[in-house]
Amino acid sequence: MKRSWWYQFIFFLVVTIVSIVTIIPTVFNHTEETKYPIKSKVALGLDLQGGLYMILGIDFPKAYRDEITAYARKIEYHLKDTNNMVTTLGSLDPSDITDPKHEVILAAGSDVAKAKESIKEYFGTLIRLTSEKGNVLQYGLSAQVRTQLEEQSSAKAIEVIRNRIDEFGVTEPEILSQGKDRVIVQLPGVKDIERAKELIGRTAKLEFKIVNDTIPGAQIAQWMTKVKDAGIVFDQTKETYSKFVGRVNDALKAELPVAYQIAFQKTVSKVTNKVEVGAPYLVEAAPRLTGDDLQDARVQIDQQKNEPYVSLEFKSSGAKRFEEVTGSNIGKRMAVILDGNVYTAPTIQAKIGGGRAQITLGSGGFNKVMAEARDIALVLRAGALPVQLDFLEQRVVGPSLGSDSVHKAVVASIIACSVLFVFCIFYYRFSGVIAIATLVLNVLFLIACLAGFEATLTLPGIAGIALTVGMAVDVNIIIYERIREEVRRGANFYKCVEAGFAGSYWTVIDAHITQAMAGFCLLHFGTGPIRGFAVTLLIGIAITVYTSYFVNKLFFEFYMDKVEGQDLSI
């Protein structure tokens, strides 16, 4: 053997040993705890192991509306704090969905010019005055705030979803943004899909609003009958709860006092287990405090009634605001609203310092309430979604479908490979054995590479592997047919092998480079499944060229050199 052969052989040996060491965690399905120096292994994609895949869309019009409403409330506080001016909140004008505007009404006889000046000085370029009529000022968001909202929303949403999922405990979740208005969430291997979906979809918008009790209950009841007569009834199977609430408020828009809206206490019937619409409340449209003011949320148990509740702790700024609000609204009720649903609306007995509040959930089976309390505390702790998310696309793969298909596919591959191997030996005799060896090595190296990169294997990925193996078989056949051509010309066997390999070199290289060019384009321009295919194909191409050409040649050189005047079995 020549010295260069030995160098190549040592390289090959190292590659093989490293590959075997690398695929051990994948083959024996090691867990995190298994004591083994290498942790990385091939992860199965959602389509193979089951799990949840979703694309969530961000509802920007709603985000703009919430943002300008929040600014209106800030203007109110600002004018009161600095100039002692009394203002009330006017109505929201959502006609332009990308640029909603909100009115602020100054008390009669106020110095409008001074108020405008003060607002401009304090808020700068964040908001802009869109129109004014006497003591009514209308503001809209500045373009800068809107772009900022667009840019930050998906990033913030991803962060919040990640926090929630981490608390939920899913291994290897994948959460990424697509464009500026989409978020992709992939949770492989999730068992409790319903709960996962609920946790992710929950906006967790916590709001504290003062209830308007000056309007008699009879009037509210009358409004409710009117809504019902207009055919607006809640049906769980047809629409979401928040959509229903939105429709009710749209229908009553002309009659409700300005800057107020209807909210309901949602109840779940113990008998039918269906969501029912409970008592209506007339509450302010703009919240006094929100989830942003929150420091912490935990589940506690009321010892006397044996009922779980969620206790809230405000940040220092929020605590100060809470104290002010409770102080100036003694005797009124304050509604605690989570995702548009009134959880509780206790009467404010006295000014509350210390920044603590609680959400009581009522009774209804200890375990059920406990689970709900835990979920609420969890989403509040993990943060509210900055925007409403709609489910645009969701795929759930049951775990059994995944394992069934993998099992069947593996059995089929083994049978197909066996047939292929028998064919190789039948057609090419001993050279066929070498071909089989290179094919097996090819698959070994490929899996090792995927494990090393911690790649996720999906069905399109398997398609890539299938094509790679097909091409590897082809490389062997190209070379062997070349060798046969040479043998027919009657040259000496060693020369035949050499000429066979030399003659097929550029054929193999050109075919694989062309393939790789296509693969790079698919990787760069494709999405999801196409990329999965491209990744395995590209890795496969590099490995096939090495294994099926160079390792093959190495084996043949050894085979021909073993005995002087070796016969060639091909």
Partner: protein, 308 residues
């Protein structure tokens, strides 16, 4: 030495080229019409929802239909899938985009509650907005276009620019035929189909490059021989390799199609069809196109000389 194709075989491929070209053009046109009119787009591309349910006890489709109607859920079509014994039903939901989620959830819930006794297992739920489906189609198409362009440039540089368009024509030919057969049999065009088409293109590309490679080799070895003879000799010389490779891979893909189970069945069906037509197209479409292009170029040169 065991051989399928005897060495020294001389089949006149080129002589039948015109016939083959006509047959190919007609087939591709028929396939294109089938694709446009009859293609059954899956939920991934059309938007909508699909729920796959497996039950322990056998349920009749009527039973399910009635129960769904009772819950006020409309626009659901039912279909049994997989083996008889598996008791698997596919529920396809069509609804307004904004209601899709709610209706799909309703169907899922109804199945769970109404047939709890039958041991219902929800195996798969796919809900795809129409917008997402369109995006996927566009991105898949663009990726393929770029792949074609880059392949053409590489072949143009490495071989000759006469060869480059032939490859793309043959790839379009193969894609059209595989899709046409899909449409003809009413198979659903899904993400798996995209993966299969990609594999078919890859396979056909490989095949074509290998025939070209031999033509190029002969061009250098026997200068002065006309292209028609070169193509014929090259095709005959690589015929053994072509048949053995195609036979071996076809054997594997057919086995995988028969034994691999539902999840990969469609993929290997398309791949098998693709292998047959990919092999044919590298001889009759790619080489034929290259030859015609050569003839056209010579004719143009001759005319240019005449006018000058």
């Amino acid at each position: 030495m065991f051989t399928i194709i005897k060495p020294g075989t001389k089949i006149d491929f080129v002589g039948k080229m015109r016939m083959a070209a006509i047959a190919s053009v007609i087939t591709v046109i028929i396939c294109a019409i089938l694709v446009v009119t009859k293609m059954n787009y899956g939920v991934d591309f059309r938007g909508g929802a699909e729920i796959e349910v497996k039950t322990k006890q056998r349920l009749s489709l009527d039973e399910i239909r009635q129960s769904l109607e009772k819950s006020g859920l409309k626009g659901v079509t039912l279909q049994t899938i997989g083996d008889e014994a598996e008791n698997e039903v596919l529920l396809k939901v069509q609804a307004d985009p904004h209601e899709l989620n709610v209706v799909a959830a309703g169907v899922e819930k109804t199945m769970r509650t109404d047939f709890a006794n039958a041991g219902v297992e929800i195996r798969k739920v796919d809900v795809v907005g129409a917008k997402a489906g369109k995006q996927l189609r566009v991105s898949a198409f663009l990726a393929m276009c770029w792949a074609f362009i880059s392949v053409m440039i590489y072949l143009g540089l490495r071989f000759d620019f006469r060869y480059a368009p032939g490859v793309v024509v043959s790839l379009v030919h193969d894609t059209a035929i595989v899709l046409g057969i899909y449409a003809l049999f009413g198979f659903e065009f899904s993400l798996q189909t995209v993966a299969a088409i990609l594999a078919v293109i890859g396979y056909s590309l490989n095949d074509t490059v290998i025939v070209y490679d031999r033509v190029r080799e002969h061009e250098h070895k026997y200068p002065g021989v006309d292209l028609l003879t070169l193509i014929n000799n090259a095709t005959n010389e690589t015929l053994s390799r072509t048949i053995v490779t195609s036979g071996a891979t076809l054997m594997v893909t057919v086995l995988m199609y028969l034994l691999g189970g539902g999840a990969i069945k469609d993929f290997f069906f398309a791949f098998s069809v693709g292998i047959v037509f990919g092999t044919y197209s590298s001889i009759y479409v790619a080489s034929a196109f290259t030859y015609e292009l050569d003839v056209f170029q010579k004719w143009r040169k001759a005319r240019a000389k005449q006018t000058a």
